[in-house]
Protein backbone atom coordinates (compact mmCIF):
# COMPACT_ATOMS: atom_id res chain seq x y z
CA UNK A 1 0.00 0.00 0.00
CA UNK A 2 1.15 3.53 -0.74
CA UNK A 3 1.02 5.62 2.43
CA UNK A 4 1.65 9.30 3.15
CA UNK A 5 2.07 10.89 6.55
CA UNK A 6 1.36 14.33 7.95
CA UNK A 7 3.23 15.31 11.10
CA UNK A 8 1.53 18.26 12.78
CA UNK A 9 3.56 18.64 15.97
CA UNK A 10 7.12 19.56 16.83
CA UNK A 11 9.62 17.07 18.26
CA UNK A 12 10.00 16.60 22.03
CA UNK A 13 7.09 18.87 23.00
CA UNK A 14 4.69 16.30 21.61
CA UNK A 15 4.86 12.57 21.01
CA UNK A 16 3.27 12.74 17.54
CA UNK A 17 6.61 12.93 15.76
CA UNK A 18 8.12 9.86 17.45
CA UNK A 19 4.88 7.93 16.96
CA UNK A 20 5.05 8.83 13.27
CA UNK A 21 8.66 7.58 13.13
CA UNK A 22 7.58 4.27 14.69
CA UNK A 23 4.66 4.04 12.29
CA UNK A 24 6.88 4.67 9.27
CA UNK A 25 9.38 2.03 10.44
CA UNK A 26 6.60 -0.51 10.95
CA UNK A 27 4.99 0.30 7.61
CA UNK A 28 8.30 -0.11 5.74
CA UNK A 29 9.01 -3.39 7.53
CA UNK A 30 5.55 -4.61 6.54
CA UNK A 31 6.42 -3.91 2.91
CA UNK A 32 4.43 -0.72 2.41
CA UNK A 33 5.65 2.21 0.37
CA UNK A 34 5.93 5.59 2.10
CA UNK A 35 5.16 8.10 -0.64
CA UNK A 36 5.86 11.18 1.44
CA UNK A 37 6.07 12.59 4.97
CA UNK A 38 4.74 16.13 5.14
CA UNK A 39 5.62 18.33 8.12
CA UNK A 40 3.12 21.03 8.99
CA UNK A 41 2.40 23.45 11.85
CA UNK A 42 5.17 23.10 14.48
CA UNK A 43 5.97 19.78 12.79
CA UNK A 44 8.39 21.74 10.60
CA UNK A 45 10.74 21.82 13.61
CA UNK A 46 11.46 18.16 12.93
CA UNK A 47 13.53 19.45 10.02
CA UNK A 48 16.18 21.52 11.82
CA UNK A 49 19.77 20.29 12.02
CA UNK A 50 20.60 22.70 14.86
CA UNK A 51 19.03 20.67 17.64
CA UNK A 52 21.40 19.19 20.23
CA UNK A 53 19.39 16.92 22.52
CA UNK A 54 21.18 15.29 25.50
CA UNK A 55 23.21 12.25 24.43
CA UNK A 56 21.02 9.81 26.33
CA UNK A 57 17.93 11.14 24.58
CA UNK A 58 16.65 10.27 21.11
CA UNK A 59 17.75 12.68 18.39
CA UNK A 60 14.40 12.93 16.62
CA UNK A 61 15.51 15.14 13.72
CA UNK A 62 18.50 12.87 13.02
CA UNK A 63 16.29 9.78 13.25
CA UNK A 64 14.03 11.17 10.53
CA UNK A 65 17.07 11.95 8.42
CA UNK A 66 18.50 8.43 8.81
CA UNK A 67 15.12 6.87 8.11
CA UNK A 68 14.84 8.90 4.91
CA UNK A 69 18.31 7.88 3.77
CA UNK A 70 17.78 4.19 4.57
CA UNK A 71 14.45 3.88 2.79
CA UNK A 72 14.54 6.75 0.29
CA UNK A 73 11.63 8.58 1.94
CA UNK A 74 10.57 12.03 0.78
CA UNK A 75 10.53 14.39 3.80
CA UNK A 76 8.80 17.66 2.95
CA UNK A 77 8.63 20.70 5.21
CA UNK A 78 5.81 23.14 4.42
CA UNK A 79 7.28 26.41 3.19
CA UNK A 80 4.62 28.69 4.70
CA UNK A 81 4.88 27.00 8.10
CA UNK A 82 8.69 26.94 7.83
CA UNK A 83 8.93 30.64 7.09
CA UNK A 84 6.94 31.45 10.24
CA UNK A 85 9.17 29.24 12.36
CA UNK A 86 12.60 29.85 10.86
CA UNK A 87 13.36 26.61 9.04
CA UNK A 88 15.61 27.62 6.15
CA UNK A 89 17.23 25.85 3.19
CA UNK A 90 19.54 27.23 0.51
CA UNK A 91 16.70 28.61 -1.60
CA UNK A 92 14.89 30.21 1.33
CA UNK A 93 18.17 31.66 2.61
CA UNK A 94 18.79 33.38 -0.71
CA UNK A 95 15.17 34.41 -1.27
CA UNK A 96 14.64 35.89 2.16
CA UNK A 97 18.20 37.11 2.66
CA UNK A 98 19.00 35.05 5.76
CA UNK A 99 22.59 34.61 6.87
CA UNK A 100 22.39 30.86 7.34
CA UNK A 101 20.34 27.76 6.82
CA UNK A 102 19.33 24.96 9.16
CA UNK A 103 17.51 22.33 7.13
CA UNK A 104 18.44 18.77 8.11
CA UNK A 105 19.86 16.39 5.49
CA UNK A 106 17.08 14.47 3.78
CA UNK A 107 14.44 17.18 4.25
CA UNK A 108 13.29 19.60 1.59
CA UNK A 109 11.09 22.70 1.78
CA UNK A 110 8.11 22.88 -0.56
CA UNK A 111 4.52 24.03 -0.80
CA UNK A 112 1.23 22.83 0.64
CA UNK A 113 0.41 21.41 -2.77
CA UNK A 114 2.78 18.56 -1.84
CA UNK A 115 0.37 17.56 0.93
CA UNK A 116 -2.64 17.59 -1.38
CA UNK A 117 -0.69 15.64 -3.99
CA UNK A 118 0.29 13.11 -1.32
CA UNK A 119 -3.40 12.66 -0.54
CA UNK A 120 -4.26 12.19 -4.19
CA UNK A 121 -1.40 9.80 -4.96
CA UNK A 122 -1.53 7.64 -1.82
CA UNK A 123 -3.92 4.92 -0.71
CA UNK A 124 -3.82 6.33 2.82
CA UNK A 125 -2.92 9.68 4.34
CA UNK A 126 -2.32 9.37 8.07
CA UNK A 127 -2.17 12.48 10.27
CA UNK A 128 -0.12 12.50 13.48
CA UNK A 129 -0.96 15.29 15.91
CA UNK A 130 -3.47 16.46 18.47
Amino acid sequence: MKISIQVSEGPYNHEASVTAINYVKAAVEAGHDIFRVFFYHDGVNNGTKYATPPQDDMNIQKTWSELAAAHDIDLVVCVAAAQRRGIVDQGEMERNKKDGMNIMDGFRISGLGQLIEAGIESDRLVVFGD
Binding site: Q6, A81, L112, I116, L125, V127
Partner: protein, 135 residues
Protein backbone atom coordinates in the same frame (compact mmCIF):
# COMPACT_ATOMS: atom_id res chain seq x y z
CA UNK B 1 -14.90 14.45 -11.50
CA UNK B 2 -14.58 10.66 -11.30
CA UNK B 3 -10.84 10.90 -10.69
CA UNK B 4 -11.29 13.45 -7.92
CA UNK B 5 -10.92 12.36 -4.34
CA UNK B 6 -13.14 13.53 -1.54
CA UNK B 7 -11.12 15.68 0.87
CA UNK B 8 -12.57 16.48 4.29
CA UNK B 9 -10.94 19.09 6.50
CA UNK B 10 -12.04 18.71 10.10
CA UNK B 11 -11.65 21.86 12.16
CA UNK B 12 -11.82 21.19 15.87
CA UNK B 13 -10.07 24.08 17.58
CA UNK B 14 -10.85 27.68 18.49
CA UNK B 15 -9.65 30.23 15.92
CA UNK B 16 -7.09 31.83 18.20
CA UNK B 17 -4.89 30.44 20.96
CA UNK B 18 -3.27 28.01 18.55
CA UNK B 19 -2.46 28.32 14.86
CA UNK B 20 -4.29 25.17 13.72
CA UNK B 21 -7.38 27.00 12.44
CA UNK B 22 -5.48 29.50 10.33
CA UNK B 23 -3.03 26.97 8.92
CA UNK B 24 -5.93 24.62 8.15
CA UNK B 25 -7.56 27.38 6.12
CA UNK B 26 -4.28 27.86 4.24
CA UNK B 27 -4.33 24.18 3.22
CA UNK B 28 -7.94 24.48 2.07
CA UNK B 29 -7.15 27.51 -0.10
CA UNK B 30 -4.09 25.87 -1.70
CA UNK B 31 -5.91 22.55 -2.04
CA UNK B 32 -8.78 24.22 -3.91
CA UNK B 33 -6.49 24.54 -6.93
CA UNK B 34 -6.34 20.75 -7.28
CA UNK B 35 -9.93 20.20 -8.45
CA UNK B 36 -10.80 17.71 -5.75
CA UNK B 37 -14.15 17.39 -3.96
CA UNK B 38 -13.66 19.45 -0.84
CA UNK B 39 -15.73 19.56 2.35
CA UNK B 40 -15.10 21.29 5.64
CA UNK B 41 -16.45 20.27 9.02
CA UNK B 42 -16.50 22.41 12.13
CA UNK B 43 -16.86 20.58 15.42
CA UNK B 44 -16.10 21.18 19.10
CA UNK B 45 -14.46 24.60 19.63
CA UNK B 46 -13.90 24.67 15.87
CA UNK B 47 -17.39 26.15 15.48
CA UNK B 48 -16.02 29.39 16.93
CA UNK B 49 -13.92 29.79 13.77
CA UNK B 50 -17.03 30.79 11.82
CA UNK B 51 -18.33 33.33 14.36
CA UNK B 52 -19.47 36.72 13.07
CA UNK B 53 -17.81 39.91 14.25
CA UNK B 54 -14.42 38.59 15.28
CA UNK B 55 -12.10 41.31 16.57
CA UNK B 56 -8.51 40.44 17.40
CA UNK B 57 -7.31 43.99 17.99
CA UNK B 58 -6.62 43.42 21.67
CA UNK B 59 -4.70 40.17 21.21
CA UNK B 60 -2.58 41.57 18.39
CA UNK B 61 -3.05 38.53 16.16
CA UNK B 62 -4.23 38.69 12.57
CA UNK B 63 -8.00 38.35 12.21
CA UNK B 64 -8.26 35.83 9.38
CA UNK B 65 -12.01 35.29 9.70
CA UNK B 66 -12.90 37.39 6.59
CA UNK B 67 -11.10 34.71 4.55
CA UNK B 68 -13.92 32.20 5.15
CA UNK B 69 -16.22 34.41 3.06
CA UNK B 70 -13.91 33.80 0.06
CA UNK B 71 -14.31 30.02 0.18
CA UNK B 72 -17.33 30.11 -2.12
CA UNK B 73 -15.17 31.70 -4.83
CA UNK B 74 -12.80 28.73 -4.50
CA UNK B 75 -15.70 26.30 -5.11
CA UNK B 76 -15.53 25.25 -1.47
CA UNK B 77 -19.24 25.18 -0.64
CA UNK B 78 -19.83 22.10 1.48
CA UNK B 79 -19.34 23.43 4.98
CA UNK B 80 -20.77 21.26 7.73
CA UNK B 81 -21.22 22.57 11.27
CA UNK B 82 -22.05 20.08 13.99
CA UNK B 83 -25.35 20.87 15.70
CA UNK B 84 -24.33 19.44 19.06
CA UNK B 85 -21.16 21.55 19.15
CA UNK B 86 -23.16 24.71 18.47
CA UNK B 87 -25.75 23.86 21.14
CA UNK B 88 -23.14 22.99 23.77
CA UNK B 89 -21.74 26.50 23.32
CA UNK B 90 -25.09 28.29 23.28
CA UNK B 91 -24.67 29.20 19.61
CA UNK B 92 -27.03 29.08 16.63
CA UNK B 93 -26.55 29.45 12.88
CA UNK B 94 -27.36 33.16 13.35
CA UNK B 95 -24.11 33.61 15.29
CA UNK B 96 -22.07 32.41 12.32
CA UNK B 97 -20.98 34.24 9.20
CA UNK B 98 -23.41 33.89 6.32
CA UNK B 99 -21.24 31.98 3.84
CA UNK B 100 -22.54 31.65 0.28
CA UNK B 101 -21.50 30.40 -3.11
CA UNK B 102 -22.78 31.02 -6.64
CA UNK B 103 -24.16 28.05 -8.54
CA UNK B 104 -22.91 28.18 -12.10
CA UNK B 105 -25.55 25.65 -13.19
CA UNK B 106 -28.41 27.81 -11.94
CA UNK B 107 -27.49 31.15 -13.46
CA UNK B 108 -25.12 31.95 -10.60
CA UNK B 109 -27.85 31.75 -7.99
CA UNK B 110 -26.49 32.50 -4.53
CA UNK B 111 -26.74 29.54 -2.17
CA UNK B 112 -25.84 28.89 1.43
CA UNK B 113 -22.59 27.01 2.02
CA UNK B 114 -23.15 26.13 5.67
CA UNK B 115 -25.21 23.12 6.62
CA UNK B 116 -25.88 22.36 10.26
CA UNK B 117 -25.80 18.60 10.73
CA UNK B 118 -26.08 16.25 13.67
CA UNK B 119 -23.18 14.24 14.95
CA UNK B 120 -24.72 11.10 13.44
CA UNK B 121 -25.15 12.77 10.03
CA UNK B 122 -21.57 14.02 10.18
CA UNK B 123 -20.34 10.51 10.90
CA UNK B 124 -22.02 9.34 7.69
CA UNK B 125 -20.44 12.19 5.75
CA UNK B 126 -17.01 11.28 7.16
CA UNK B 127 -17.62 7.70 6.08
CA UNK B 128 -17.89 8.83 2.44
CA UNK B 129 -14.54 10.64 2.37
CA UNK B 130 -11.30 9.44 0.82
CA UNK B 131 -9.05 11.77 2.81
CA UNK B 132 -9.71 13.31 6.20
CA UNK B 133 -7.31 15.96 7.42
CA UNK B 134 -7.76 16.82 11.04
CA UNK B 135 -6.87 20.24 12.46
Amino acid sequence: MSDAKKFMYINRKAPYGTIYAWESLEVVLIGAAFDQEVSLAFVDDGVYQLMKGQDTTDVGIKNFSPTYAALGDYDVNKIYVEKESLEARGLTLEDLQHLVWEDEDEDWAEKDSIRVVTSAELAEIFEQQDITLSF
